[in-house]
Symmetry: C2
Subunit: 428 residues, 2 copies
Amino acid sequence: MEIGIGLLGLGVVGSGVARALTEKSQALAQEAGSPFVLRHALVRDPQKPRPFSLPQGLLTTRAQDILEDEKVHIVVELMGGEEPAVKYMEEALKRGKYVVTANKEVMAKHGPRLLDLARAHGVEVRFEASVGGGIPLISPFQQDLAANRVSAIHAIINGTTNYILTRMAAEGLEFSLALKQAQALGYAEPDPTNDVEGIDAAYKLAILATIAFKSQVLPQEVYREGISRLSYKDFRYARELGFAIKLLAIAKEQDGKIEVRVHPVLLSQETLLAKVEGAFNAVQVEGDLVGQVIFYGLGAGALPTSSAVLADILNLARKITQGVKPIASPPIGREKPVIPIENLRTRYYLRMTVADRPGVLAQISRVLGDLQISIASVIQKETDERAGMAEIVIMTHPSLEAWVREALKQMAELGVVKEVSNFIRVEI
Amino acid sequence: MEIGIGLLGLGVVGSGVARALTEKSQALAQEAGSPFVLRHALVRDPQKPRPFSLPQGLLTTRAQDILEDEKVHIVVELMGGEEPAVKYMEEALKRGKYVVTANKEVMAKHGPRLLDLARAHGVEVRFEASVGGGIPLISPFQQDLAANRVSAIHAIINGTTNYILTRMAAEGLEFSLALKQAQALGYAEPDPTNDVEGIDAAYKLAILATIAFKSQVLPQEVYREGISRLSYKDFRYARELGFAIKLLAIAKEQDGKIEVRVHPVLLSQETLLAKVEGAFNAVQVEGDLVGQVIFYGLGAGALPTSSAVLADILNLARKITQGVKPIASPPIGREKPVIPIENLRTRYYLRMTVADRPGVLAQISRVLGDLQISIASVIQKETDERAGMAEIVIMTHPSLEAWVREALKQMAELGVVKEVSNFIRVEI
């Protein structure tokens, strides 16, 4: 038999997959047990010049050509965005077709519902490529770590921001300049909002948390801060204190409650995550049996993402070829509540510009002390002698986020504090 | 239905698995879709005191009690060693039972044959725990990276030696002292041969190379050197030159030929592998699509190994519960030859003790030059002024192993060379 593939989308990843299906056809057929036939590829503009040629008649602008073709066994959704992707995926599943997707937005927002739909129709949705490009993550969580109770995930899952932070740290660049350079090199999009504001990472974290904790976490439940307010000064102070700064996606479960957040953190220079540089991703998982495991690799790009998409296609093709039914996994509900960020208890790094005169630290300490925030260390540096200004960096002991926020408000109102410049949570 | 489990072996890992099956029974049953019943555990001495109690009548000294029990669906082999483990596994498969094993020796020596036997009897052998403890490796190679042509594996897959090397590097210890400390702390066995001579790592590398390159590599085909001839001096010079020293298991495929070797290497301090410390393992894979991925975690211990054993058990239990046949993977032959170490071309670190007088370096350089070995850098240090001795460390450009060996022989015969103290290959 032949395994019929329908591609929804022929962008960077779609072209990579189509190309691999052609160029590696023999090796893939051997792995799958059957040859693949790419039957259609949905595109917006069939006339658009493409980097490689596909057989005549393969391109279509009508999704129905794919969804209604009985010879298409696997629909590969690589168009991105919520609509119409999710509609097409639903229709494919209802027609008994298998679905492979790299769509983090759809899987974060609709994952459990699509899994239910697949189960009801005796097929599968696979989404390895939706998080971490080619790094095996979804399948390890669903299979290899399945016996573990996962307590925490710490992840660098956005290559663009990790690239920008790596440049800021290494070269003392300000954010805006590092972003411009990343854009010039193609590491960041012309509109970088999705990456630099942590939206992309929040989608991916919602997917990972949902499968790790077996309870749905929606992207809007992920607390989120971007990297645009970081200054090279923060990197300098962090280094002095033995820390690196990374944008981490963090998910934890304790007592049936879930904590999910994406924001810059200070983390010890000694950790492996602190050593993940450039556009690389790394996902660190803590399980009750396995202890700490880390998965590392390129989280984006046509080839790495194709690796994950093709793995999902191969997995399904082996089953289709051998007439093996998919394994139904238990439905995922929404039993476990997500706790608000105000309940977080961690250490904080606070940087502020203050008047360089006696008694200033006493006033600040009083505000903190009254809110039960205890100081672990202080760095004070004169920054502008003529203006009589100094910069203070305070590291706190573990404190409640709600009270730290109140402290920042009260400190900003002190006459001696010119500006509260930044506050960054400390992790690990 | 109930999934019947028979345990062959109730040592550290076996006890961990039995314990988890009991203590996590509810969570595991939910994951599997059926409850588990531990029906028998094969032990040598039923009277031996054990850290936790199993129901009366569960212990047996007769393997046939497990192999002949029709209610045992999955035989979990955790006794280790080649015989009688392999015999029991064969019999289990022939009787249509699924097999899960952590046995690296059996899988390295007999893997493809056992996989064939399983295929012939419509069952499966799973062996995730045989390499890297709880780190997902076998399943990622078989599934997630299946679309890739793997070109190279660089792995730290023996925690004992990595622990010893970490201590030697950090504290300037000699090997014998670091080994004694590792033994005192339980990181090394009373007879450490299997670990320090790279035998354990060679088994694991044979397994990884076999599934990555889809051609059987036998453990005796793995070129192997242990860590016992490393001196703290090597660590000191390596650091000066920007390198760390690790025991790496390396497998490469080029033009249908396989290179497999386990030996100490100098690798750049900037690599992530150089930063893997203590008893942790890390496996770095290069694939044509995925680029570089790294899997990191604890490679041994009762709990991490249980994590992998239980993942395999869960995977099979889901299939048994839902009446889903195993997926047959293509048979693995022996098409790809293993090339001898003499054909290796890499950079070398050479350390020798020489007479501290003019012309010595010229004599050494002539030997190297005549064998087409070109020098990249030299460190010369006076070590013993009274004896007129100095130490020379030479880093070569890429050279042929056969010629480097010949050069070492010729240099040892030079009157000015008191001792060729070490030579270490450079990687990455």
